[in-house]
Amino acid sequence: MSAVKIFVPLDAAARSVGADETASAIAAEAQRRQIDIELIRNGSRGLLWLEPLVEVEVAGRRYAYGPVQPQDVAGLFAAATAEGSAAQHHPLAHGLTEEIPYLKRQQRLTFARVGITDPRSLSDYLAHGGYRGLAAALELQPHQIVASVSASGLRGRGGAAFPAGIKWKTVLGAAGAQKYIVCNADEGDSGTFSDRMLMEGDPFVLIEGMTIAGLATGATRGYIYLRWEYPDAKRALEAAIQAAYAARYLGENIQGSGACFDLEVRMGAGAYICGEETSLLESLEGKRGQVRFKPPLPAIAGLFGKPTVINNVITFASVPIILERGAEYYQHFGMGRSRGTLPMQLAGNIKRGGLVEIAFGMSLRELLYEYGGGSSSGRPIRAVQVGGPLGAYLPESQFDTPLDYEAFAEIKGMLGHGGIVVFDDRVDMAAQARYAMEFCAIESCGKCTPCRIGSTRGVEVIDRLVAGQNAAEQEILLRDLCETLTYGSLCALGGLTPYPVLSALNHFPEDFVKSERAHASA
């Protein structure tokens, strides 16, 4: 009899709640019972409330159990022995993984392999359709690859949603002996972890996407700029890059095509602003991460002054499937001008937090309640911040907004990188508004005055407003300051900080009134 395959995620989130200990307990228990098992450390399926999620393969199908703590392991083995290998009556059993509604109803294109494969195995990647996008790209001329990415409707998944094809086309058309591909893996938005999950769970797809970008634009060198907070992703990427070099998927003469592409990982050092593309380029050059004036665009004069494609992790990772299945296939998902899928991340006070990759167009409400199951505290959801620390706080009345770039822009919000942070009715929205200004002050690069100084003044004005010192005047001052930040800042940090501040003030004014606050806490 061949070994039973058991999967325990190696993902940092799963490890943060004990996946390593669970894996050790499984190995020890199997040895004690003299059962031959093959323990595979996969990526996370993204059902994070069930982590550590253990899967057992029976007759080629995977059954899920979770959350499995080390003390549950012996009982699971006993149940499997007593009632047959699937142990379907155990309280931690969830049946076939792929039939769990949370997962079954998703449209996993970019995350197709995450949680399924062993992220450290190139052969597993190839066995699950990996590098078919590159194979297709190697048959095409650069302008045809760019045309395919343009036709897919893929827009930058980092937050700004700029059409990827236009960036690529500009770099292709730019003259230059050296061009660069830069991946923005500085995923700093609170409430987001899709980049991390992808890099840890399927690093090869990012490498493949960046290699295709190199072929499309004539760039021969790539950098992944990764935040230091993701050491697990660093290990996964470096191992995958090494494996890709060894198998001639990177380096000279890729797969005998004559094309070459070199790739390395560079670490950030704790600066939120380096998620802004021009700051990131400065940082990669070994400088302070200060925002550059635009123009020139990075596509014309980017890294070391050379034409540079800079895109987010998910953007690059979406490219292989576009090349493999065709632009038409990807384009038919979504709504309006938002094509394809977006991996949404349910975070904060949510019962079933995790990753939900779906086509654009579903309502926020459906995501929060059908997938998320409401708040984890069981209390009413009062506010939801969508799109990271620069995203608006939405009240319940806006939960029917469809997940679409334009629909969110219409309500003065943004989808950003797809992070959704849920707060219950105990949240103090004046404190959240103050935090938004404080965060801007901490993370401002200091280049422009509205952001550098306005954020500190913003904290002070909110403090006076909440303390009831000439409240009416303070509110006028705060709105005026927000207008200065919006129109006077050089980049999105200062420019968008008014989103969380003003949305809190507009939708939850009662939290800013001293008498009502005293009443509420009494």
Binding site: A12, A13, R15, S16, V17, L48, W49, E51, E187, G188, D189, S190, G191, T192, F193, D195, R196, W228, E229, Y230, P231, D232, R266, M267, G268, A269, G270, A271, Y272, S283, L284, E285, G286, K287, R288, G289, F304, Q345, L346, A347, G348, N349, I350, G353, G354, S376, Q385, P389, G419, V421, V422, F423, D424, V427, Q432, Y435, F439, I442, E443, C445
Partner: protein
């Protein structure tokens, strides 16, 4: 008439003043030698120095500046820009506690207060026994399983006050053993 002054030798590489021990100095020089050929080498070098010594000493700045042919101001400017680089010694283990919104929604502020009280330090401080340094961090990418913290490079999720105390006790035990 005065006699001509003796010829002065001007060294090409001025030795920067340094209070580093010979070992520390060698560690900085090794990092520079290994990485300085990289395009944009300064951040990789600062990371390597911090990894080797636990912080980036002030007196490593002139050494690095000389190796990269940069001004002191340029190196100092980069070192002081990034939150992750620590400028002073302290703490055999570093605990990064998340202060960002998703963790706030799950009680990060209360955990922060508990952490400071139980360790007896503020952010950027080190416990009296030198075991633990506490730093704030803005998102660890564990937003569905907060509140989160990171001990050295190990992420921890769903950290209650009780679990925090257990994690700190475990970290201290590692210090004593280690």
């Amino acid at each position: 008439m005065t006699s001509p002054s003796p010829r002065r030798v001007i060294p090409i590489k001025v030795e920067p003043p340094s209070s580093l021990s010979a070992e520390e100095r060698a560690s900085v020089e090794r990092a520079c030698a290994r990485l300085k050929a990289l395009p944009g080498a300064l951040l990789p070098i600062l990371h390597a120095v911090q990894e080797a010594m636990g912080f980036v000493p002030k007196d490593s700045v002139p050494l690095i500046a000389r190796e990269l042919n940069l001004s002191l101001a340029e190196v100092h400017g980069v070192l002081s820009f990034y939150h992750y680089f620590r400028k002073e010694r302290g703490g055999r283990h570093v605990v990064h506690l998340c202060r960002a919104e998703a963790c706030q929604a799950l009680g990060a502020a209360a955990l922060e207060a508990h952490a400071k009280r139980s360790l007896g330090i503020e952010f950027h401080g080190t416990t009296a026994d030198g075991a633990i340094r506490l730093e704030p961090v803005y998102c660890l990418g564990n937003c569905a399983l907060g509140p989160s913290l990171m001990i050295d490079e190990q992420l921890q999720g769903r950290v209650s006050a009780q679990r925090f105390d257990a994690l700190m006790a475990g970290t201290r035990a590692r210090v004593e053993r280690g």
